[in-house]
Assembly symmetry: C2
Homo-oligomer: 405 residues x 2
């Protein structure tokens, strides 16, 4: 894409009404626009990052049999009354309407997917079933100060699984853990699997936490093995010997929750009466699991982790473009731009009529992994600099091809 046609400029100053570093960086780089506290719009560059994250999540969830759909944001109050959550979920937005009815504005979709699944599940032959969606959610947060890490409006992937019994749920739960591991790895993130309360059905649920000072959660973990618990269930203290591996020591850290997985059991199938007939024609209660990933929150945590004093430094999996091509004289980059594109590369082409210093500063702010410069000085060669490295290299087009493959 030609930068002259991006319609969005980087900003020299961080906005004064924004406290969170991730939002400051993303606003300055032209990725997001703040509408009000906890509510952001995604500008063209930001939408590209979102789509990249979404596609990684989609690929991995498809690979474990997930079937994508799109559930409604407006939800009938009756469904929430049935599960008792109309009054118990304190962040639920309640929307009055001209019809006199109130709707829930979906912060999550158990109340929609469970009755939907009921319509299509009647026999053991219909199980297991895995539905997921990638969708905007809403939470009526009292405070929203962490940029994309806690929004009143945000994008989630939510997956729901339906099973014949607990054992079948266990098997799928393990598969989701593998898929989640792949997702965070592909995004360049080290997510810690943290034990959390499992409700009445299961001892633990699991949170995927990025250990980072900006996170709003508090995590206790072993410095030697993979033991980790959130503060709600951890009963020891910092400095204790790890009870699991008997070798390590318990440390603590803030954590940003980017995913969670939960064995719901019959918590939602019970109130909606979701049953199936087994091989003997006997009615059995369906068992359910749910699995979330915060898509826009992942964008926030990536911005929070991958940056330096000059701007963002996107990992390749999430970067809005792979290559930032900068020409220092009008038209000099056109040929290379076309060649790179025809080889299937995603290129942001800075064809603007601007000074070299401004272009370089913008490239640092935006944070695309490979910066290429063509100028009268580089002649038939290309100057390559990776974002975050200081060194530049003068290379030929053939050398560039090898590096990009």
């Amino acid at each position: 894409m030609r930068q002259s046609e991006l319609f969005v400029k980087t900003l020299r100053e961080a906005p004064s009404d924004e406290e969170a570093n991730n939002a400051k960086l993303l606003i300055r780089g032209g990725f997001i626009h703040k509408e009000m506290a906890g509510v952001y719009s995604y500008l063209p560059l930001g939408l590209k990052v979102l789509r990249n994250i979404e596609n990684i999540v989609r690929e991995e969830i498809n690979s474990i049999g997930g079937n994508e759909l799109l559930l409604s944001s407006l939800q009938p109050k009756e469904n929430w009354d049935k599960t008792g959550r109309w009054n118990s979920v304190d962040v639920l937005f309640k929307l009055p309407s001209q019809t006199g009815k109130n709707y829930a504005l979906g912060p999550t979709h158990e109340e929609i997917i469970a009755p939907l699944a009921k319509k299509y599940i009647s026999s053991y032959r219909d199980l297991p079933a895995y539905y997921y969606q990638i969708q905007t959610k809403f939470r009526d947060e009292l405070r929203a100060k962490s940029g994309l890490l806690r929004g009143r409006e945000f994008i989630m992937k939510d997956l729901y699984s339906f099973h014949r019994n607990e054992k079948d749920l266990e098997i799928y739960y393990e598969k989701v853990m593998v898929a989640y591991g792949n997702i965070f790895k592909r995004l360049g993130l080290e997510a810690r699997v943290v034990e959390a309360s499992g409700g009445s059905f299961s001892k633990y649920s699991h949170e995927y936490q990025i250990l980072n000072p900006v996170g709003e959660d508090l995590i206790f973990y072993c410095d030697s093995c993979d033991f980790a618990q959130n503060k709600e269930i951890f009963t020891g203290k910092i400095g204790d010997a790890c009870e699991r591996c008997k070798k390590g020591t318990i440390l603590s850290s803030n954590g940003a929750e980017v995913g969670n997985i939960f064995k719901l059991g019959t918590k939602f199938t019970e109130p909606f009466g979701i049953k199936y007939k087994d091989e003997d024609g006997k009615e059995q209660m369906v068992v359910m699991g749910c699995y979330g990933i915060g898509i826009s929150r992942l964008m926030g945590i990536l911005a929070e982790i991958y940056n330096d004093e000059n701007g963002l430094k996107w990992p390749e999996g999430a970067a809005p473009f792979k290559i930032h091509l900068i020409e220092l004289k009008k038209g000099l980059g056109d040929d290379l731009y076309k060649r790179l594109q025809s080889n299937g590369n995603e290129v942001l082409y800075d064809d603007r009529d601007a000074k070299a210093g401004e272009k370089f500063a913008d490239a640092d702010l935006i944070g695309i992994p490979y910066r290429l410069v063509v100028s009268e000085k580089t002649r038939d060669k290309i100057e390559l600099k990776k974002r975050g490295e200081i060194e530049t290299k003068l290379i030929t087009i053939d050398e560039l091809k090898k590096i990009l493959n």
Copy 2:
């Protein structure tokens, strides 16, 4: 995709609480699920149709320079106060929050895009600019009885353009008309361009109407030339001679509005003070246009038009799959399924353990353009039937390849 893994079944009966034919057909075929009046979820097959429509729209809007972004659904009340629409838009959902503030739940996005554009437009060099999004919208409708044709929650493409002057807006407006023409043609729809009120800035705006009894609008049009006006501005009567071509006669029809384009002028740039400096350094008011297309409504109107007594008949551009492959003996279709997929075809493969009659009835309900059957009877050939045709043909794999290309 294997039909055994679709998790969704067709329904033998139309739902009793649904009046609209498009919704009845789409519910029976397993495309959508009704949550409440005017609110539907999109099941895997329905989401595929939506994505196909979206991609056609995206390609055509990108081709006229549109730059995709994603604006927030929650909108500050202050923005709506500024334009005076907080009280004047009767279908605006007003959402109370724990913070004490009320938010607008976006039925449209002029109140968001205008202040956003203001941040990035300061000079004539920043113009023109074209932003669009494909997004879920909300309208607090008193009545919603037309299925996907009038929803409380629905998906729209909304494009906003910003210009130096009226002349530049005119030029882009014409380009949008060409793009819209392409979009409806690719979807197999004949949309009539209908003159409507242009507000204070322009004599006319234009609606894209599908003439169909199910439409909620009333259109007057010439049976000979392209003259057409909606009932708000038409001053003649049925049977009049056409004043434009002097040859035809004025007829009337119901119409379903699938798009509209509007020269807003300074209606929104004025209240938000969106100005630019021209070449002489003089401040000028930015001129604006807006252009909508109802994505989910298009899905509804396609269902309304393309069907017969046995179910849906998708045109190729929107069809969830191009090919519906049916095997009548377990495993017999596996090889062909793989070959079709590896040639880049979108295939729904009915590998279920079900009777031939059930499979054929489901194929008709779902309405995929090409039905292929392999059975012991077809041997090394394939039975081809196009949806909507009665005749079946026995063909070789080489003949099939030619037909599909």
